[in-house]
Structures are given as C-alpha cells and as structure tokens.
C-alpha cells in the first residue's frame, strides 16, 4: 500500500492503517529497535508502541515520509526503553557506543553542551558531509547497521566504510566542540 494511502487511513481513523504500516515497515522498525535494545522481546514491544505512536500522532502530524517518521519514533521509544533498562541494570545494548565513546568523552570535557541546539547542529554537520559519508554515518548511528552490512548494502569496501566513519566522527566531534565552545 502506498504511504499516502496509509496516512490517509490514519487520518480517517481507520485501524487498517496500523496493520498496513506494520506490514510495510514492521521489519525495518523491529530491526532498529532490536539493534538498540539487543532483545527481540523488548523490540517487539517497542514496535507495538511505535505503531500506537503513529496512531496517536497522525493526525495532527502529516509526515512527508512515513518510513522516516516511523523510524524516528521507534528509535526514540527504543532509547527510552534502553535508559529505563539500564536503570534496572538488565540490558547490554548493541548500539555502537565504543566508536563514539572518545567523542563523547571529549565533548563532555570541552564545553557547555546543554545549551547547544543539537538538532540544528546535527543537520548542519550532516549537510557539510558528502552524500556517501552522510549515508554511511546515518546507517551506522541512526539505523545502527553494522559496518559489514553497510559495505554490502552500498557496494563499497569495508575499509572504506571504516574510513568514512572515522572521518565523520572526527568532524562530528569538531563540530560539537566548536558549537559548545561558542555557547
């Protein structure tokens, strides 16, 4: 079913919208959640919450891209769950934290970041990247694809993926540090 039609069903408050969205994007959403949470059971629950989120938010929201919108919802829900689970000390996430650890440490020591508008900064950072780097960065840190998966998906070598990510992380760090220092 076309996205526009699914969105139309949401607007018409037709519950068929939920099953249609699940059928079309359920697997993608489940994968994102599973990569964040490392647990199929938790990911399933997140998927249900995400579908409910779609139902509650559309309308009034009218997303330009239903898939991207749904991905953001399940990502947010999964991180919420991740934080709660960490509080209970029962979760070992699969998200690539190690790669960003150094960046995070430097950022934490480098300025006042609570004042940084991260979404503006992120968009600005991504806009400065070349398309290929941007896609690789998002596949890794938004969708949490593994490096070999990215290489296979995009038809590029693993070493190239690593290089692109490495450079993107450096730029990301520079950008955040600069913005933080400017605050």
């Amino acid at each position: 079913m076309e996205d526009e039609r699914i969105i139309g069903l949401f607007f018409a408050r037709d519950e068929l919208a939920i099953s249609a969205a699940e059928e079309k994007y359920g697997r993608l959403l489940l994968n994102i959640s599973k990569r964040i949470l490392g647990s199929s059971g938790d990911a399933e629950e997140c998927l249900n919450d995400a579908l409910l989120g779609l139902w509650r938010s559309i309308p009034p929201e009218n997303p330009l891209d239903l898939r991207a919108y749904a991905c953001k919802i399940i990502r947010n829900l999964s991180f919420d769950r991740l934080k709660r689970s960490f509080a209970k000390k029962r979760l070992a996430p699969e998200v690539p934290l190690d790669e960003l650890e150094a960046v995070l440490e430097d950022i934490a020591a480098g300025g006042d970041f609570d004042k940084v508008d991260f979404s503006v900064l992120l968009d600005s950072f991504l806009r400065e990247l070349r398309p290929e780097s941007r896609v690789v960065f998002l596949k890794r840190y938004f969708f949490f694809d593994s490096e070999p998966e990215i290489a296979a998906d995009l038809g590029i070598s693993l070493s190239k993926v690593k290089s692109l990510l490495y450079r993107a992380r450096l730029k990301f760090k520079e950008k955040v540090l600069k913005e933080g220092a400017d605050q």
């Binding site: 953001k72 960046v103 992120l122 991504l126 896609v135 998906d153 070493s159």
Partner: protein, 374 residues
Amino acid sequence: MKNYRYLEEIGKVDEAFLKEVFAFNESAETKRRQKMNKTIIMKLTAVAACAALAVGVGALALSGRQGKITSLPEAQEDSAFTPEISEPADVAESEPADVVEIEPADVVEIEPSYNERIANGETVTVETYIGKRIEHQGFAYTLRDITVSPTFPEGITKADIAATPAVIAYTDSDSEDNMLGFDEKVYDYSEYAAEHGLPPIELEENYGSEYPWQYHSRALDVIDVVDENGLYQGPMDVPDGAYKWIFLEVEIENLSDEEQREYMADMELNGGRWIENPVSLAITPEGEEIRTAHPSFYAYSENICYMSEHTGEELYDGQAEGKKFHNLVFAPRETKTLVLGYCVSDHFVYGDLFLNLHNTEMTYTDSFVYLPLK
C-alpha cells in the same frame, strides 16, 4: 549510567536525510538486482540453447531413422523449449564505453634518448614532466620530479613483476575523478572486456564497482598497449628487460598540516603502517615482505594492508591468489610531497596517481594515468 545523549540526539535528524539513506539503499538494491538479472539471463540463455540443441539433435536422430531429413520440429518453436527472454535495459541498450579522448598536448613524450640511457642502466630525470600542475577538488599538485630507473625495486625480479596485476586504467565511466592533466582514458570494464575479448572477471559481492581498476590481474608479460592518443592497441609481448620504474614526486600545495595528519591517520586506520626503517614495501600473498631501499618514505597501499592482515584468501578483486604484486605508494612523513613508484614498460606508465590523497573524504579515486613513453 551510560550517557546515550548523543546517539539519542541523532534521532532528531531531519527526515530528508533519512529519505536520502532510503534512496541510497534502493539504488544499491536495484544495482544488485540488475546484476543478478544478468546472471540469470546468461544461465537461461544457456539452458535455452541447450534445449534447442537437444531438440535439434533429437529431430535429426528421428529423421535419420525415417531415412530423410525433415524440417525442424514444431517443438523448437514451442515457447516451452525456447523461452522468450527479455533482457533488462542495461544489458540490451547499454551505452558504449565512455572514452575520454585525450588532447595531443596532454601527451608528454619521453625522448628516445632517455630510453636509451635507461636501457644502459641509467636513472634519468624526465624534465619534461616537471612543473606539471594539476588541480582537483580544491587541491593543487605540482610534479616536482620524475625519474625513470631500469633497476627498481631492488630485489624484485622480472618474474615478480610479471606476476604483478597489470595494466590499464579502467574506471567508472561516470567517475568524477577524471581530473588529471595527463592523457587519460575512462573505461567501463565490462564494455572493454566485451570489446577486446577479455574474460569476464567475477567480482566479490562486497567489492563492487568501487574498485574497477582492481579487476585486472593480467600478467605483465603480456600487457595492453595504448598509442600516443591513449587508444587501445591490443596486447603486446614485452621483451626481457623492458621493465622500468618511474617515480613521480608530487608536491601538494594546499594540504594543511591538519589534513596531512588526517590523511596519515586514515592510512593507519586502514592498516597502513609506519615503517621503522622506511623503505618501500610490498607484501606478497604468501606474506613475504619485499623491501627496497628508498629512505624516508612511508609506504602504504590499501592492498598491502589487506595482504598483511590476511592470507591470500581475501585479496581484492583481480588480485588473483598466488600472484605477487607491488602497488606502491610512497609518502614522506613530514613534508607535503608524495613520491609514487610504478612499474612501466617501454610504452606507458600506469598507476592510480593520487590514490586517496586528493580526496578529503577518503572516497578512493578511480582515476588512472597513462604516461605513454614513446
């Protein structure tokens, strides 16, 4: 508690960027499917041909028993035996290879006297090239020196060189990196191979069109020759002693210290390594290191890193197992000058002159350079 703030914040990304990711995925998927279609079509064609042949042979056998030759049986035209196969557009209507014709002015001749001197064992400097300036993607390079030597690298024999993946600039026809001021050709390998009767080369799934120039592992004892216009002239047997080495010393004018450090860090990230007593280095699939005296240079090659980390099982495309190679790139540690060494024949130089360096985003260039030596 772990801080997920920044990973979480990435979730605030503009949806337009996510749409771009989806588009990339779909584009890559389309390419994969087209490739698969080609394979299926080839197999189907073979099956159909076999079926038709079997029917034909059967008909002949039958007609022989009946004592006369009949026309081919109806069954041959039956769709069950000769399935109608429609090729996808990219197979049936593929564009001819995008060949960039070079301007005569771009062909830099090496005087015959140089060849004579080189043949006598002398290393000569080719002044004609010096000062050649190339601009690309914000960087400007100037060739500071070119020398040609008959003997480099020390310790590498003709047999080693003959086993080197050889020759030829095949690049993506839509490459953005066709930037060099030298004579240059741009090929699509599949077109090129079909045109010249070369065998198709199976590509590993993970190494797609990104490395088209690496699809070739033809021995150097039969090399492809280009004429003074950079046009393909066919294979040529290279006589003994025809091999020389050429060194290009290139100064990068506007590479900042920071960019230089980044570049070096990238190289190390990719498995390149600093060499304690810097010499040029090549590593064979057997793990053997070939070192040659060339002081003060950092030797790096993406190929080398793969070879050093793995056995011959994980070679790049075209670098067939068991073949030695020496795809050498030399870069000094402190300055902004690169020295690149390439094997040459009497007829041309080949090499991906600037490899990664010219591109700040580390998207590997797929440019090659011919320097015909006339």
